[in-house]
């Protein structure tokens, strides 16, 4: 059972205090978007063996959504960060590079 540190309230919350929210950094496509973009927004998801970015909500806690970067193989958590961003913070990306050289995930590396 995983533990993530909520970047808002600082609690090291265990999974039973959190709700999973799927893949992070999805770009919303609304009315006017073409079928391919809309399909990718709704249905196409990463399923990496290794570095992955996800959303979690501290539902049994401060109620805030946050992002987490972790390794799907070892469950190592590289870090958590606030939801109000379009990409992972630079220092986190560097930290991941130090541990998993050559990683890439969607447009990030």
């Amino acid at each position: 059972m995983l533990i993530f540190e909520c970047p808002y309230c600082g609690v090291h919350a265990e999974e039973s205090e959190l709700s999973p929210g799927g893949e992070a950094h999805l770009k919303r496509f609304g009315p006017g978007s073409d079928d391919a973009d809309f399909e990718s927004y709704l249905f196409i998801r990463e399923n990496p063996k290794g570095v992955h970015f996800e959303r979690w909500r501290h539902s049994n806690g401060c109620g805030k959504w946050f992002h987490a970067a972790r390794c799907t193989m070892t469950l190592e958590v590289f870090g958590t960060y606030v939801a109000q961003t379009f990409e992972p913070p630079q220092d986190l990306k560097e930290k991941i590079t130090a541990k998993r050289p050559g990683w890439s995930w969607r447009d990030f590396s």
Partner: protein, 189 residues
């Protein structure tokens, strides 16, 4: 009709700690950017307290403010002071984007007293209750069994637990079960 009618007759259980339903408290949810300077000044003016730090509880003249999230405070006061405080808050906040609502009826509060209060909580909530790790002054939002709840220590042998009123009965029953005589661990006493 200003007299509060409590949800049920006052609940009480004498286990290895005593579990009792606390009387009606005034509770006000405040959502806003209370960390900003002007907001902080306004709060000070209305409540006589500085906004609490992350997960902390701050005490004012007639009220106590608990940090619930970066943009939410829960303000406790006496049932009688609630209306005055709400008006005062609304006044100092003025046109700033904020929300002040009375949630006094929405919750139920329990008081736990006894030397092993930490243990009773640790049977229900996935939180480190060991002395030093959790101390008076902090409010923790978590789950108790299968429901969301929050608690804090008033002292080393008194704790408060709050939950939504609809699950107050469930909360009381599980606190009761967790404090059944004979189930003490005595690891922190």
């Amino acid at each position: 009709m200003s007299d509060p009618v409590t949800a049920m007759e006052t609940l009480r259980f004498e286990g290895f700690v005593t579990v009792s339903q606390a009387g009606s408290l005034g509770m006000i949810t405040l959502r806003g950017d209370f960390g900003s300077k002007p907001f902080g000044t306004a709060l000070k003016k209305a409540l006589g307290l500085d906004p609490p730090q992350k997960r902390q509880i701050a005490h004012g003249n007639n009220s106590t403010a608990a940090w619930m999230s970066p943009d939410e405070l829960l303000i406790f006061c006496s049932w009688e002071d609630k209306a005055t405080l709400m008006t005062a808050l609304q006044k100092v906040i003025g046109k700033r984007h904020a929300m002040v609502i009375d949630v006094s009826d929405a919750r139920m509060t329990f008081t736990l007293t006894g030397s092993n209060v930490r243990e009773v909580i640790a049977k229900l909530a996935p939180v480190d209750l060991s002395p030093g790790s959790f101390e008076p002054g902090e409010l923790r939002r978590t789950r108790f069994g299968q429901i969301a709840a929050a608690f804090w220590l008033v002292s080393q042998d008194e704790a408060k637990v709050i939950c939504f009123r609809s699950v107050g009965d469930y909360m009381f029953k599980q606190l009761k079960a967790a404090s059944t005589p004979g189930s003490e661990l005595d690891i922190w006493t």
